[in-house]
Symmetry: C2
């Protein structure tokens, strides 16, 4: 059992993802996602959060938001926001993301896909938590935008995480909220440790 | 132990809350909060979510957003959003909120305040979960905006919930993300049952 926090990165993926009609597209940023995921990154001690978009204008927008709040008056006005946004990194592809992680910590990350849809062979939160806290290595949690990660990407991942369900069958949470729940289940206080298998998800 | 979901309401409170300089103010809506909290309401089977603001223009804004997505083309374009937003109710005060709950279910709710700051005598998630699932009655979870619920309001509540911490000391999460984590800890799957007291929050 490792005694230090797992080395977990997050990636907010804007391509390749599905649109409403299941075409593979590049989605636009929702700037609040940048703030929220940055704050989650620091709250849960993750290694960092990558914003993946091949669209140059979207990259510029992200950099502009980050610069505004981490430099000059923005950084003074809201220091907790500045602290958080320092943990965001903008990349144009998953290849660039992987290259960056290898540069920083010498390891290729182990990929974990997430989706609101159920997939055969998906891993439970209990099992993944055990892997994160029990094994060495670097992990990367992929968060989809739009209508979810493209299947071509999901099938390349080592794990696909169970969808998030509460006590109902409705599970259409925005990525920023889902990410918080995932991180709390995977990295949150041991008082929420998993001691038993669920009888039912619903 | 109750066999049905706890009767828990949520309230997104825009007054009375603090601004950055600890003055009691009425904050503006963040429309994404409406969408996110509505989706959480349905995901976790809560009874409903009240948006509390005394400002008439803000009430109109909220009603406009809800109407747009629950009627006509908006409801057709995004049915999961429409489903969720039907669970939002706009009120001008906590008194009006309480009156509405009493009208609907015949009980005065038991108030639970939430805050990012630690308070003496705050209740842990484990203990509150036990109360929610073990006792009859109706509960109301107050979520603050701005820099948090005014103390005059917190001291009127039966419970003040522990702040959310991950493995670090940084705990500046946006209310929409914090709400998701709270609901998952309080109402989420029993596989995340609390079996031990934490050694440390950090």
């Amino acid at each position: 059992m490792r005694t230090t926090c797992p080395k977990l990165y997050m990636a907010l993926v804007h391509f390749p993802v599905y649109n409403k009609t299941r075409q593979v597209v590049a989605t636009s940023l929702t700037t609040l996602n940048l703030h929220d995921l940055a704050r989650l990154t620091v709250t849960y001690g993750t290694q960092g959060c990558y914003v993946v978009t091949p669209l140059q204008r979207q990259q510029e927008l992200a950099r502009h938001v980050i610069a505004h709040w981490t430099q000059g008056y923005g950084a003074v006005y809201n220091p907790t926001r500045a602290t958080a946004l320092h943990h965001l990194h903008i990349v144009d592809s998953l290849e660039a993301l992987e290259h960056d992680i290898v540069q920083h910590c010498g390891h290729i990350p182990r990929y974990i896909a997430t989706d609101a849809r159920p997939f055969p062979g998906s891993i439970s939160y209990a099992a993944l938590r055990e892997i994160l806290w029990g094994q060495e290595g670097v992990f990367l949690l992929l968060l989809g935008t739009g209508w979810g990660l493209a299947e071509e990407l999901i099938t390349r991942c080592e794990y696909i995480l169970d969808p998030i369900y509460g006590p109902t069958s409705y599970n259409h949470l925005p990525v920023r909220v889902a990410a918080g729940i995932m991180l709390d289940r995977l990295l949150g206080s041991p008082r929420f440790s998993m001691m038993q298998e669920p009888v039912s998800d619903l």
